[in-house]
């Protein structure tokens, strides 16, 4: 296989990997935020006078739920734009061959 084919192969798989890295965590956080918001509303309905307190704690937990999604998205971006390290083996082999 020539060089262009190999690079295209790696890039294609990298794009799929990046799509999974960016898309799947948002699935998790969407479900997480949904459950969180639902519990917040339930607690608020029981005791409306705790509104400020509950909202502050809800936002804290929201930030925590966000965490690993944000990390995965950042890794996806780094892979997509920060120079794909998976191409190094191919470029090194190309340099050796030429």
């Amino acid at each position: 296989m020539d060089l262009a084919h190999l690079i295209a192969l790696v890039n294609a798989n990298t794009v799929i990997a990046v799509a999974l890295l960016i898309g799947l965590p948002s699935l998790g956080t969407a479900i997480g935020f949904g459950v969180l918001g639902g519990k917040f509303l339930e607690g608020l309905a029981r005791q409306p006078e705790l509104k400020g307190h509950l909202m502050m704690h809800m936002l804290i937990v929201a930030g925590l739920v966000d965490a690993f999604a944000a990390v995965s998205i950042a890794m996806g971006f780094v892979l997509l734009y920060g120079g794909n390290p998976l191409l190094h083996a191919i470029t090194a082999a190309a340099k050796l061959a030429s």
């Binding site: 804290i60 965490a67 944000a70 950042a74």
Partner: protein, 264 residues
């Protein structure tokens, strides 16, 4: 500046470069990457830190007990809020915690706030001085977030030893949570927990801020109608993220330090 218009990939890549100063070759090029100092992160974080300290110190010096001015009001508000928070969550004797939380919150918030400045403005104006790359947001640099979280990690270790002593700490590590006969498992869990905390603390802040910056860069690639539509939406959301992430970093620091003091 580049000759001719950059492709979108090149534009994004250009925005991902730090202003590197290598400490081994003491120059702006070459050298092993381990010794790279991100000069842009370093400068911006120092400037913001000194700004915050100077601001608050000035307000403290000029404090009057009669009719306080606006600056003094704001500083007192910040200090009282954080003092209240610390009193709620931290039940031990330690005079360092409240000033530490104030510093973490305000400093991280100021560094995050740099993300709201238009993404091309500062690098473009600095390019006239010959500076090729400049990333304005220090907290979008993992070097900085890891330095913050490693500092907190070292403090947690120090306070663990200081407030519990070797014997009590040893007992706690060996017997939590499974009892003395499963002590290898206890040690393993404890080590894992202690290592994951600074990792998650720093990566949470880095991930949120880096993703925010990337979305701003990609909005900058859109035509003018796309920018006018998506720009304000993301900016508003990002204002929430900025405050929230600084607040969470501070709360988690307080909680971890409180767990370092407690004894069952």
């Amino acid at each position: 500046m580049a000759s001719g218009p950059l492709s979108s990939g090149e534009y994004v890549q250009h925005h991902l470069h730090h202003l590197n100063f290598n400490l081994k070759t003491l120059s702006f090029h070459g050298g092993p990457p381990f010794w790279d100092l991100h000069l842009d992160t370093f400068i911006v974080s120092w400037v913001l830190g000194l700004l915050f300290l100077g601001f608050f110190h000035h307000a403290a010096r000029k404090a009057v007990s009669g009719a306080p001015g606006k600056l003094q009001n704001f500083v007192e508000l910040a200090i009282e809020t954080i003092d209240g928070l610390v009193k709620e969550s931290f039940h031990y004797e330690n005079r360092l915690i409240a000033p530490l939380s104030l510093t973490i919150f305000i400093w991280v918030f100021l560094m995050n706030f740099m993300d709201l400045i238009p993404v091309d403005l500062v690098p473009w104006s600095l390019s006239f001085l010959g500076v090729k790359y400049f990333r304005l947001v220090p907290t979008a640099d993992p070097y900085l977030t890891f330095s913050l979280s490693i500092t907190v990690f070292l403090m947690v270790i120090y306070y663990n030893f200081k407030s519990k002593g070797f014997v009590k700490l040893g007992k706690e590590v060996l017997t939590h949570p499974f009892g003395i006969w499963l002590f290898p498992v206890n040690i393993l869990f404890r080590l894992l927990e202690e290592v994951v905390r600074p990792l998650s603390l720093s990566l949470r802040l880095f991930g949120n801020l880096f993703a925010g910056e990337m979305v701003f860069i990609m909005i900058a690639l859109l035509p003018w109608y796309g920018q006018a539509l998506l720009g304000p939406v993301w900016t508003i959301f990002h204002v929430l993220i900025i405050v929230l992430q600084a607040f969470i970093f501070m709360m988690l620091t307080i909680v971890y330090l409180s767990m370092a003091h407690e004894s069952h």
